[in-house]
Structures are given as C-alpha cells and as structure tokens.
C-alpha cells in the first residue's frame, strides 16, 4: 500500500483536534481507518466503541460529527480539505447528551 503520498495529492482534515492527511475522494471512514483511528463513536447506553462495519451505508455504526453536524455516515461522506471531524458520543446531540 502506498505510504509515500505526495503533498499535492492530499487533503488535510482534523479529527479530535489532531491533523491528518487523506487522499482526495476517500471516505471519512476510510481516511480515519488509514490513520489507525478505529473508534468513530461511542454508544448512547453503554458508551461502547464502534467503528467501520458494513462500509456501504446500511449499518449506521460509523456515525461521526462533521463540521458540527452530528450523525453523518462516515463511510458515505468523502473527506474534504479543512473538514473538522469529531468522535460522536451517544446521539451526538448536545442537548440530549446528559440524558441517562
């Protein structure tokens, strides 16, 4: 697998406050997987880690918050330059986060 990616062929994005490089066209989930970030969200009830599972938009396990908008399907959204992604906790809705 190609590790020496030219700077001009990359986009830069942020995940959990850290900067990463990805190849244009890659999905958010694939870019994060490539960055060895396997945990994309934690669940509402158990706080259990979840990641990339079906890869085709069916399972809704790869939900992340992108540019402030929660519940985006990481496997379907292409990563873009300057994108800010955060790990989603629970519903991703700040108003409901404190609910048991």
């Amino acid at each position: 697998m190609s590790t020496s990616v030219l700077r001009s062929e990359t986009v830069q994005f942020e995940f959990e406050g850290r900067q990463f490089l990805a190849r244009p066209g890659q999905s958010v989930a694939a870019a994060l997987w490539s960055a060895r970030e396997a945990v994309l969200r934690t669940t509402a009830q158990e706080g259990a880690p979840r990641g990339f599972f079906c890869g085709m938009g069916v399972c809704f396990d790869c939900l992340v918050t992108i540019d402030g908008r929660p519940n985006r399907q990481g496997c379907l959204v292409p990563v873009t330059d300057g994108m800010v992604i955060t790990r989603q906790h629970g519903t991703g809705n700040p108003a409901r986060e404190d609910e048991p």
Binding site: Q26, W33, G51, F52, G55, G57
Partner: protein, 484 residues
C-alpha cells in the same frame, strides 16, 4: 398506465425510473435505452457500478483489468442521451402511483414514474456473536472496498470468516495488495461440498472459477480452516483476537476445541440479505424463503412485482450474484419495453428466450451454492446473554429472549416490546438474524415471524433537506401554494 401505449405515435413517452446502478439496474437501463426509451437512474454512489463494480474513489496505482462493470459503465455512457444518471441520490420514500421521493446533493425532490424498476441489491448477513460490535470487526465487503476503492489496508493481520466463495475472493484481493491474511474460517466442511457436486456441475465455468479461487488461496499460502466458525471477538476498545472452533454440519461449535487467532481485523459474513425496503414501501407482495433475509418480492417471468408498473431485478429480488443480476436486468428491460409498446410482445419473447435459458442453467448452480451456504441453526446460538443483538438500540440477547418468552414471536411484536429495529438502520442489521433465531428456536414459522417493516424515510433526512425541496422532473407535481 396511460392509454394508447401500443400506438407508436404516442406523444408522451413513458417515464421510467430505475433505482440502483449495480449490474441489474445498469443492464435494465441499457436494455431500455437500446429500445429507444428514456430512463432516469437513481443511485446512492457518485459513480455507477453498485457494490460489486464500485468505481475506485481513489485512483489505483495498479492498472485495473476491464471487468463486466467497466463494460456496463461504457454502455451506460454510450446511451447518455437517453439515460439520465442521478448520482448521490437516496430514495427516501415511495408514494402511491409510483412516485419516488429522493434526496440528493440539491435536496429533496419527487420523481414520477409510469414504470419503476427496483434494483437495490443486497448487504451482508452477520448474525450477532460476542464481540461483533468491536471496532476492527467488519464485513468482507467493507474490507474489499477499503483495499480496492479507497486504497487503504484493512489491517495488519486480517482473518476472514463466515461462509461462501466471496470470502475467497476478498482474501485474494487483500493478499494481492500485500495485506497479511492470517486465515479463512469457513463453516463449510469439505465432505458437505462433495454431495452438492452434481448441482455445482450445472455450470462448469463457474465451478472452475470457484476452484481457481481455492487454488489461488492455497498458492498464496493462506490457511483455509474448513468446518470452523468464529465464536467470539475479543479486545479492549478494538479487536485484538478472534476465537474460532470446529463446527458440525449444523454449524454448532465444539467449544472444547476452540482456539484464539491474533488479528486486528476480522471480516465476517454469512451470505447476503436482499434489500427489501423499496419493494415493501411500494406495496409489493413478498414471499418467504429459507435464505438470509427470509423474504423476497413475488415477480412474474419478466420481473414485474405484484404492483403493476413496479419491477425488480438483481440481488434485491433474491440473492443470486452479479451475472444473474445483469441477465435479470435485461429481462426487466424487455418486459418494460414490451409493456410500453416500444417492442412487440413476440419480439420480447424471442429476445428473452436465450436469457431465460442461461438463467435456468445458473439457477441450478445457485441452488447448490445456496444449499451449502444457507445458515444452519448453530449460527443463531452464538450470542450470549449480554451480547448486543440490535446494534443501533443496544438491545441485548437476554432482553429479546425475555420478550420471546412472554410471547413476542413476530418481528412486529419484538419491535414493540424491545425497540429491536427502531434505530437508524431500521432493523436491517438485527431483524434477519432475529427472525432466523425465532424460526430455529421453533417459536414460529418464517411466514408468521413476518418480513421486516420498513417505513418512510428509508434513510434519515434532516428537516432542512426536506424543506429545501427542488423542482420535480415534470410539471404534474403539485406546485407550492400560490404559485399558479
């Protein structure tokens, strides 16, 4: 259907919408365009191809061999004058009179159709087992996509598990890209395959292809663990190891002989489930089967469902693979063209004859494969009490079993009593396995357990997307109040 469809001078050409740009949808659209009809093809992906012929998101460093997908894409492009392709569009709902609500980059819109061809495809069947929600556990299709379309290695030590030839295909794809595949655990035992040889011999070419995959795996030095099943996935925060055990003909593991395999990625799948949501929202009659997913739409010899003007082809109409999907798409094209009067009924019959002969031959082969790969009861017993069975709502096996014990033995009643299937995936992940368990436990028959119940919106949409409604494809959609 409008009148005068048989009149060649009819002014209004029929409005035909195809949902899904995999082999079935592409073949149907091409077949219709070849007969002079205009088609709109709606698809979730940015480029046509479906899951099997997914267009690389990242340009590959390796030259790609032109596959059937490339050929179909080429034909689709040749007919660009007649085929309007709407990429990155999700179907949100189907309303009376074959009206389709779709959501795309420009928001929500309604597409009206005289003929609606549903080619939604299938997704992988993964029944619950302890540890299956850990990051690092994924479907073989997801891993294939990472390596082939995204240019990303799925892991450092990858184990493939489940059943069926697709595991071999993915193992070889990973191996070719330099990924370390530590093994393939397949529930199929060698001696079981022997008894299915007569039906598998129905198609020598496909049988040879399958044997070539086995040969390729051997040559690559990938350990093939036949008659083994994954009993659990373990790790802290992400996958670290997988426990496998030998299984019997009913896929019941012999836990006493289980052993751990160190892996950071487990790709697991037990076949494919047809995507039924569209057919169900369109009101198509479904019929029970013994295969994953349990139900398929009822169709006539052309692929028309019980709802006039609604047709279906491909894995969404019953999982049978890409070659069958392409042929079935052609058949639907002929059926729709004949129904619209674009071709004579006799011409449709003549053109359909060789397609049907080939489909018949392939169906014998498929029956052999289905008999081998059809889930056995041991698969329904892998989850323990605390295993989450509904990934969205985090419902544990014990909660579902308690509901079953108090008489909830249909998907509908389980949904009401436990919230199973109420999350964003609408039960796509949990309900097929749960239905199967109800049947395997002897609680109910497939018919009585019932098909999963999909509802609008089929995919989550925001109110903003819905209110940002753009114009429809024709003038007959109601205008906003006061516009006229």
């Amino acid at each position: 259907m409008s009148t005068d469809v048989s009149d060649p001078a009819v002014e209004n050409s029929p409005r035909i919408v195809v949902v899904g740009a995999g082999p079935a949808g592409m073949a149907a659209a091409i077949s219709l365009a070849e007969r002079g009809l205009s088609v709109t093809i709606v698809d979730q992906a940015p480029r046509p191809g479906g899951q099997i012929y997914r267009f690389p998101a990242v340009p590959s460093t390796k030259p790609q061999e032109p596959d059937r997908g490339a050929k179909l894409r080429h034909h689709l492009a040749e007919h660009a004058g007649r085929i309007a392709h709407l990429p990155e569009h999700h179907v949100v709902g189907i309303y009376p009179e074959r009206r389709l609500g779709v959501c795309g980059p420009d928001g929500f819109r309604i597409l009206e159709s005289d003929h609606l061809v549903l080619a939604p495809g299938a997704y992988e069947y993964v029944p619950p087992f302890p540890g299956w929600t850990l990051p690092g556990v994924m479907t073989p299709g997801a891993a294939q996509q990472l390596v082939k379309s995204q240019g990303v290695s799925p892991g450092r030590r990858v184990l493939l598990a489940g059943t069926g030839p697709f595991l071999l295909v993915v193992a070889l794809a990973l191996h070719e890209m330099g990924v370390t595949v530590v093994g393939i655990a397949d529930t199929l035992r060698r001696r079981d395959a022997f008894w299915k040889l007569p039906s598998l011999l129905a198609d020598g070419k496909l049988l040879k292809q399958g044997l070539d995959y086995v040969g390729g795996v051997r040559k690559a030095g990938i350990p093939l663990l036949t008659g083994h099943i994954v009993t659990r996935a373990e790790g802290h925060g992400r996958l670290e190891q997988v426990v496998v055990a030998p299984c019997d003909a009913d896929w019941v593991p012999d836990h006493g002989r289980s052993r751990p395999i160190v892996a950071d990625t487990l790709c697991i799948g037990y076949g494919f489930v047809p995507r039924l949501g569209l057919a169900q929202l369109a009101g198509c009659e479904l019929t029970p089967t013994n295969l994953p997913g349990g139900w398929i739409p009822v169709t006539d010899a052309w692929g028309q469902t019980s709802v006039p003007g609604v047709w279906t082809a491909g894995d969404g109409a019953g999982v049978a693979g890409s070659i069958v999907a392409e042929l079935a798409g052609q058949l639907v094209g002929l059926g729709v063209a004949s129904s619209c009067g674009a071709i004579a009924g006799t011409e449709a019959e003549t053109s359909a004859h060789p397609i049907r002969e080939r489909l018949h031959q392939l169906s014998r082969f498929r029956k052999g494969l289905d008999a081998l790969g059809s889930p056995r009861p041991g698969l329904s017993q892998l989850a323990d009490e605390s295993t989450v069975v509904c990934r969205c709502e985090e419902i544990q096996r014990s909660e579902v079993d308690a509901a079953i014990a108090s008489g909830s033995t249909t998907l509908r009643s389980l949904k009401v009593s436990t919230r199973l299937g109420m999350g964003p995936c609408q039960g796509r992940m949990c309900q097929p396995a749960c239905a199967r368990r109800l049947v395997d436990l002897g609680c109910n028959t497939v018919q009585e357990v019932g098909p999963p119940a999909f509802r609008t919106p089929l995919v989550p949409v925001t109110l903003g997307e819905l209110s940002g409604s753009t114009e429809s494809n024709n003038s007959s959609t109601p205008e906003p109040a006061g516009a006229s």
